[in-house]
């Protein structure tokens, strides 16, 4: 399936989950300081393995950067 991961088109094996998207970025689901939004909604860590992404989902995987 195809999703938009941090603004880039990305192929995930179905069924895609946020955890699968994290893996694409080289992160495991235990990664610290990471948050996930799908289609503009926060996905709690507890749902990273279970939430089924829909085709074309916009997935944002965010972490701490220097700022402020």
């Amino acid at each position: 399936m195809t999703i938009l991961l941090n603004g880039r088109t990305c192929e995930l094996p179905a069924p895609g989950t946020p955890a699968g998207a994290l893996a694409e970025l080289g992160l495991d689901p235990g990664a610290r300081g990471v948050a996930v939004a799908v289609d503009g909604e926060v996905v709690p860590r507890a749902e990273w393995e279970s939430l089924a992404l829909s085709e074309g989902a916009r997935v944002e995987v965010l972490t701490a950067m220097q700022g402020g």
Partner: protein, 270 residues
């Protein structure tokens, strides 16, 4: 602080902790992490600044995974203050705050809602809307705001834990453009006032404290200084000096001289 005479007033000025939302902080200098050329320099600046509350931003994970920023901040033992830098609407800022809470397990948020690209001045209506929503959602909200006393009071009224008025635009180093408004804000709200943005050098930080601010936030002034670690120490001392001076009570300004040496007993030499 062994070099300070232990009078009751000086002890109170130095030892009275900054209280935000029930948390006590010994340092009255908040540090921004933006602009440091390396994590090593950031770590050194944190140590010398004495800061206990340090901002982070939330951005897309880059290829290769997260950098070591969180590890550096953990090792420094500081509390994270995530910000909503780059957000232009209340909706984006609220979502970013919720993502930060997920990422960093903290309810604290430095709320920034930007209304103008050139000056990075806050968008007042969007800021107030976002603040109200986040307070209702259980966040400890520290809003970056203009130096408008009325807006500061409105932000405090909706439940913000502190207000963070700007001295001048972010990163401008212009210092405090309207000292009068900053002192009015101090009178207008009961929550801590943290001077945020515009600090250029140590004297600006001291001035903020002399005006009655409870703390100072500095980022670019330290991270982009030629020697960030030395500037971090300078800011720490300036914040302490300004707070001491505020407590000590400055002399009033006068138009003409007032001799500090008495004329009594002056010799008649000619």
């Amino acid at each position: 602080m062994a070099d300070i005479p232990a009078t009751a007033a000086s002890r109170a000025a130095i030892e009275d902790p900054l209280r935000i939302a029930g948390r006590e902080l010994r340092s009255r200098l908040l540090l921004g992490t933006g602009g440091f050329p390396s994590l090593e320099l950031l770590a050194e600046a944190i140590a010398l600044s004495g800061s206990e509350l340090v901002t982070v931003a939330l951005r897309r994970v880059q290829a290769g995974g997260p950098g070591g920023l969180i590890d550096v901040l953990d090792a420094a033992g500081v509390q994270l203050l995530p910000n909503t830098a780059g957000c232009h609407t209340a909706r984006d800022a609220v979502l970013t705050a919720r993502l930060s809470r997920e990422a960093f397990q903290t309810d604290w948020i430095k709320l920034e809602v930007i209304g103008d690209e050139d000056t990075l001045l806050p968008d007042a209506p969007e800021l107030l809307r976002a603040a109200e929503e986040l307070v209702g959602d259980g966040f400890v909200v520290l809003p970056y705001t203009t130096d408008d006393p009325v807006l500061a009071r409105r932000l405090a009224d909706v439940g913000c834990a502190a207000v963070m008025p700007l001295g001048s635009p972010i990163g401008s180093g212009m210092g405090i453009r309207n000292t009068y408004n900053i002192s009015l804000i101090r009178e207008a709200v009961d929550v801590p006032v943290v001077l945020d943005a515009g600090i250029g050098t140590a004297s600006d930080a001291a001035l903020a404290m002399e005006l009655g601010c409870d703390a100072v936030m500095a980022a670019s002034a330290i991270s982009r200084a030629q020697d960030p670690a030395a500037m971090a120490l300078a800011m720490r001392r300036a914040v302490e000096a300004g707070r001491l001076a505020r407590g000590a009570g400055r002399i009033p300004r006068r138009r003409y001289a007032t001799a500090s040496t008495s004329d009594e007993g002056l010799a008649e030499l000619t």
